[in-house]
């Protein structure tokens, strides 16, 4: 099991700071991920969920505060160090972000070709194996435009896992998928986490379903984060913002935490 963790210390981020209508997305945020576990970040649109992911990856810089990845502050890092830190990350983007002009095989092989010294035979072997694992055998030569939404996500996940990352970040992994396909992605997620033991963050709208996978839940509201150790804990919160969030998104208590494990 991984011991890797990410910690936010007093992170502030405001967009259009100099304009007449500044937008504060993160207003002094603090949290720490549980190593080897899954943290779900929930919250309404435009509440800074995806921004948090971009900050972790160093694609964006915070206005102030520290973002520690294994104890090193990504907010202060130069390009070279950032590159090293990013080697530990796998990311599944909202739109999968597959390279349009490359085939499924080439997409999945890319991290291995670019980041390792593996021979082309080794790469072929690994990619073929992992495509089979993700139910993509026979689709090697297709282009992303020829794939369904669910298949794209699977290719994205296969690509992200090629270098066996310590952290996996999922940006809305099931948006636009039907319930059956979503379940399939969740299963793959669960299976691969068991196999690789990565620490993960899932940003999602798919509430309450997504809570089945959560070991920790963070609710983002008006730039503030509230951290809960279990999905059930959210229901008992006295905070009026959280209460209205719970009513809006979950309706009633959803306690099927064990369900996914049984399946």
């Amino acid at each position: 099991m991984s011991t890797s963790t990410i910690k936010f210390i007093d992170v502030y981020k405001t967009f259009a700071r100099n304009s007449s209508n500044p937008q504060t997305v993160l207003d002094g945020v603090n949290f720490e991920l549980k190593p080897g576990k899954t943290t779900v970040i929930a919250g309404g649109s435009g509440q800074g969920k995806s921004v948090s992911l971009k900050l972790i990856l160093g694609l964006m810089k915070p206005d102030s505060g520290q973002i520690l990845v294994d104890g090193k502050d990504v907010a202060q890092m130069g390009k070279k160090d950032l590159k090293e830190v990013r080697m530990n990350f796998g990311v599944l983007f909202q739109g999968s972000a597959l390279f349009d002009s490359l085939t499924v095989y080439e997409n999945v092989a890319l991290p291995l070709q670019e980041r390792t010294k593996a021979s082309s035979d080794e790469i072929r072997e690994r990619v073929t194996k992992s495509l089979a694992q993700f139910d993509l055998a026979g689709h090697e030569d297709k282009y992303p435009a020829q794939l369904s939404g669910g298949m794209k996500k699977r290719v994205g996940l296969a690509r992200a896992l090629q270098l066996q990352p310590k952290f996996m970040l999922f940006d809305e992994p099931t948006t636009g998928l039907d319930p059956a396909k979503s379940l399939e992605i969740y299963r793959l997620f669960y299976k691969t986490q068991q196999e690789f033991g990565y620490t993960s963050i899932i940003v999602s709208h798919d509430i309450p379903k997504i809570f089945n996978l959560a070991d920790q839940v963070i609710v983002l509201h008006q730039g503030k984060m509230s951290v809960f150790d279990s999905p059930e804990e959210i229901q008992w919160s006295e905070d009026p913002n959280i209460k209205s969030f719970v009513e809006m998104t979950m309706g009633h208590v959803y306690q099927s935490h064990e369900m996914e494990r049984i399946q």
């Binding site: 100099n18 971009k54 990856l57 694609l59 590159k83 090293e84 990013r86 080697m87 990350f89 990311v91 983007f93 909202q94 739109g95 972000a97 597959l98 390279f99 349009d100 890319l110 991290p111 670019e114 980041r115 270098l163």
Partner: protein, 263 residues
């Protein structure tokens, strides 16, 4: 009211300074990508095919008809002074010094520059460039550097083809249609075209190639940060138009400057 105006001027000044800065860095990193390993030779060859070889037909027809028009126009002007024999020199000098490099660059901007800008812009908005960053693959080395060198290699070669085809276009109009002495057409050219003219044309074509890749790829790369470009597909279309316009105008301005300095 006045304060508002000053604020606006200030904000525009800051924006353009920032824009110049990031475009400068863009070129720097694109050039730096040349020295990073692994160099993507296959991608370079592919880009030369897309930017160079696939532009051949456009260049061929533009050159043939430009040469023929020069032959016609030149003939009727020169006939007034009884010096039709100079037609070859007139056509060759106009092509080699000015029209060859400029028209080639404008055609490549329209054909390949716009495609390059749109391609990179779409990769940006669909998070494909972020995906490269997250996989710790330098997007400049991976994406921009092959295009940079492909343009720098292709444009001078296309200019060369333009000049040769244009000179024969002039020959067709002058000799076959208007009856100029074929020997005089080429002899006059040999006497009047000197190394300096050819060097001027070569310097121009390299400079224009750099402008095309810098402006078109650069605009595409920063598609989300350009003021007033909007979002999504619309931003890509607007920025592509903008890139073609800026690139074309810069080529014409640069043409004047190089001619003024070197002639």
């Amino acid at each position: 009211m006045i304060a508002q105006r000053i604020e606006k001027i200030g904000s525009y000044t800051l924006y353009y300074l920032h824009d110049i800065g990031r475009m400068g860095l863009f070129l720097f990193y694109a050039l730096l990508g040349t020295f990073k390993r692994p160099f993507r030779f296959a991608a370079l060859v592919k880009e030369i095919r897309l930017i160079g070889a696939n532009s051949f037909a456009v260049i061929f027809f533009t050159a043939a008809f430009t040469g023929m028009v020069l032959g016609l126009q030149g003939y009727y002007t020169l006939r007034q002074f009884g010096s039709e024999g100079l037609l070859g020199s007139a056509v060759a000098l106009s092509l080699i010094r000015e029209l060859g490099p400029v028209l080639t660059a404008l055609m490549v901007t329209g054909r390949a520059g716009s495609a390059m800008c749109a391609e990179i812009g779409i990769m940006r908005i669909s998070e494909q460039i972020d995906a490269l960053d997250c996989m710790a693959i330098d997007p400049f080395r991976f994406l921009i550097t092959p295009k940079l060198w492909a343009t720098i290699i292709s444009v001078p070669l296309l200019t060369l083809i333009f000049n040769v085809v244009g000179i024969y276009g002039g020959y067709v109009a002058g000799v076959y249609i208007l009856g100029v002495n074929p020997g005089a057409y080429f002899t006059g050219m040999e006497h009047s075209v000197i190394n300096k003219d050819i060097n001027l044309g070569i310097i121009k074509s390299f400079a224009f190639a750099l402008i095309i890749i810098w402006v078109c790829a650069g605009r595409g790369y920063f598609v989300q940060e350009i003021k007033g470009a909007g979002f999504g597909a619309e931003s890509v279309s607007r920025v592509t138009t903008q890139a073609v316009v800026i690139s074309s105008i810069s080529i014409l301005i640069c043409d004047y400057l190089i001619t003024a300095v070197l002639l």
